[in-house]
């Protein structure tokens, strides 16, 4: 499959997005920003998944009468199926973690990681 993919667009792009998310995790001290970083990473991974399934000039993997005549290639259907699951999971996690951020704020009255850690260790 290698020759079909435009690496710069489809592989390194999503990975760059992923790394942006990692950068966020490395540097941010705010809980919300951490959640957003996670979400960016999610986005990167999801894009990557879709990108791997993509092919130039291919049609959707659905057998129709017309298709049987014109096209020889399908887009890989599996990543598309997977990405749905992945998105659902990331939505669920995001929802949960946001609730957790609220709870954290209620408990510690701050969203700063360092301060929370300080309170926690006391």
């Amino acid at each position: 499959m290698g020759e079909i993919i435009n690496y710069w667009t489809f592989i390194y792009g999503p990975l760059a997005i992923f790394l942006v998310g990692v950068y966020g995790l490395l540097t941010q001290k705010n809980l919300f920003k951490l959640v957003i970083s996670i979400n960016i990473m999610d986005l990167g991974v999801n894009l990557y998944i879709i990108a791997l399934g993509y092919m130039d000039n291919a049609s959707a993997p659905i057998y129709t009468a017309k298709l049987a005549v014109t096209s020889s290639r399908f887009v890989d259907p599996v990543p598309q199926a997977l990405v749905l699951t992945s998105i659902v999971i990331s939505v669920a996690v995001t929802a949960f973690v946001l609730a957790l951020v609220i709870k954290n704020y209620e408990k510690y009255n701050t969203l700063d990681l360092i301060k929370i850690k300080g309170i926690e260790n006391d």
């Binding site: 499959m1 992923f18 995790l25 809980l31 951490l34 996670i38 990473m41 999610d42 991974v45 990557y48 998944i49 791997l52 599996v78 990543p79 997977l82 699951t85 992945s86 999971i89 669920a92 996690v93 949960f96 973690v97 957790l100 951020v101 709870k103 954290n104 408990k107 510690y108 929370i116 850690k117 926690e120």
Partner: protein, 479 residues
């Protein structure tokens, strides 16, 4: 129908869907659903262990043939481990419903728990990489919920971030594997990986190592473990300590055995080193602790490191070195019971810091003796179960000339013995502080503890019965 392992996943899931409906009818009645479901699971498991041999069987779902659809892997040995996990889950559940149910948002936690059981069973059973990712996420989400049991919001947040980071890496790796091998089925992947560039495999395997280390408590991603253990409820600690960590470890081992078995020496060498580092650092840090739960947490980390490194050593040569692998699995099995027993017992006493546990054995003799049995088993003293797993592990490692490994293992074991027995000593021989309120322990709780210690003593006096069933795990029918 009863012979399908998929029931183990479906039944708790179904029970999970039932709970909201029942909840509308009666708020108390939801208590009984998870217990019935797990009991049913155990029943199914006994049947499955009886009819399945030691060879590996694949159970397809939805009618798709093996490389394409999702499939489950099962044999009687996996059955044994699953049985132990479900038994501990049952114990945690019974305890939860009896003691902690009324303290929390019962609906959410009951639901979370039963989903977690389903996910954990799925993690152990599934033979599909992406499916494993889903179950891991499911188990993790349930885990996040359980981690907040006692308002431990910050540890839970920490857990979420680290675990999500790990699972995203896992997903990345899975998809890449799919890209290069064209399949997600673990057994088939390993065949198709043969002609992939070695550099690529390195990146891939490292991705897997780091990703899997979050749930399996390995070094770079295990920072959440002590914090979560410390802040969660008794149920939660048993869930994390005996149920989730075991299942995650088992899932990791499964991935290693099925996907990477084709002699990726570098992967296994790195894993051995990481595992041993985890072991040593875990024991060293545990050595400093004066809080039982933290001790168990760090020692659990260390045990995970030990098991992973033993497994990776056994896989290094491209085939499974049976003796080491089996000993590691035996160790895994023993840890389930012993850790469960300690966490339950200490939870029942109600205090975790050494200060407050001083001399409590004078007041709670029987419970303390049961805890002592757990501790003696975990540190490997005869005549308890842990002795034999340690014994077989050392034996097999020396038989394979891994003296340095043995030396590190034994050095860390000395520390382990030291700090665990310091805890026991603190319980028995210190002056009891009369200001401390003693918790009542109900008959049901005693029953749970006695059943666990019975398992430990039974295995201790009859190790070969378990060893026999544990042996040949995975070796039967790998393609």
């Amino acid at each position: 129908m009863i012979n399908e392992p998929v029931l183990l996943i479906v039944i708790p899931l179904f029970a999970g869907f039932l709970i909201p409906i029942i909840y509308l009818i009666s708020k108390k009645a939801i208590k009984y659903i998870p217990i019935i479901a797990v009991f049913y699971n155990l029943f199914v498991l006994i049947r499955l262990i009886q009819i399945n041999s030691t060879s590996l069987s694949y159970f397809t779902t939805g009618g798709y043939k093996v490389p394409f659809g999702i499939n489950l892997i099962f044999n009687s040995q996996i059955g044994i481990i699953l049985f132990a996990i479900n038994l501990l889950a049952l114990i945690a559940l019974i305890f939860f419903l009896k003691k902690e149910f009324h303290l929390v948002n019962s609906f959410a936690y009951t639901l979370g728990f039963i989903i977690a059981i389903s996910a954990v069973n799925g993690m152990v059973l599934t033979g599909d990489l992406f499916n494993l990712f889903v179950f891991m996420e499911l188990a993790a989400i349930a885990g996040y919920i359980i981690a907040t049991h006692k308002r431990g919001y910050y540890p839970s947040f920490l857990y979420v971030i680290i675990s999500t980071f790990g699972s995203l890496l896992f997903l990345l790796g899975t998809i890449t594997i799919y890209n290069v091998s064209g399949t997600l089925n673990m057994a088939s992947v390993s065949e198709n990986l043969v002609d992939v560039s070695p550099h690529f495999i390195v990146v891939l395997s490292v991705m897997f190592i780091v990703a899997l280390s979050s749930e399996s408590e390995l070094l770079p991603l295990n920072a959440w473990v002590p914090k979560v253990y410390e802040k969660t409820s008794i149920t939660g600690s048993i869930f994390f300590g005996s149920v989730l960590s075991t299942a995650a470890l088992f899932a990791v081992i499964k991935v290693l055995v099925l996907v990477f078995k084709g002699g990726y020496e570098y992967l296994f060498n790195s894993l051995t080193i990481i595992g041993l580092a985890t072991l040593l650092i875990g024991e060293f840090v545990a050595f400093k602790q004066r809080n039982v739960r933290k001790i168990v947490a760090y020692s659990s980390i260390a045990q995970a490191g030990l098991i992973i490194s033993a497994v990776s050593v056994s896989l290094k040569n491209g085939t499974i070195t049976d003796s080491i692998f089996n000993a590691a699995m035996f160790q895994l099995l023993n840890n389930i019971f012993a850790k469960g027993l300690i966490l339950l017992g200490v939870g029942l006493l109600g205090y975790y810091s050494f200060e407050k546990l001083k001399g409590i054995a004078g007041k709670k003799k029987f419970a303390s003796i049961l805890i002592t049995i757990g501790v003696l088993s975990i540190i490997g003293m005869p005549p308890f179960a842990g002795f034999w797993s340690k014994f077989f592990l050392i034996k097999s490692l020396i038989a394979n000339k891994m003296i340095i490994f043995v030396a590190i293992f034994l050095a860390s074991a000395i520390f382990e013995v030291y700090y665990y027995l310091r805890f026991i000593q603190n319980m028995y021989y210190e002056e009891f502080d009369s200001k401390i309120k003693i918790n009542q322990i109900s008959a049901v709780s005693y029953f749970l503890m006695i059943s666990l210690s019975f398992m430990i003593i039974y295995i201790g006096f009859n190790p070969s019965s378990v060893m026999k069933t544990i042996s040949d795990i995975f070796t039967g029918g790998i393609i």
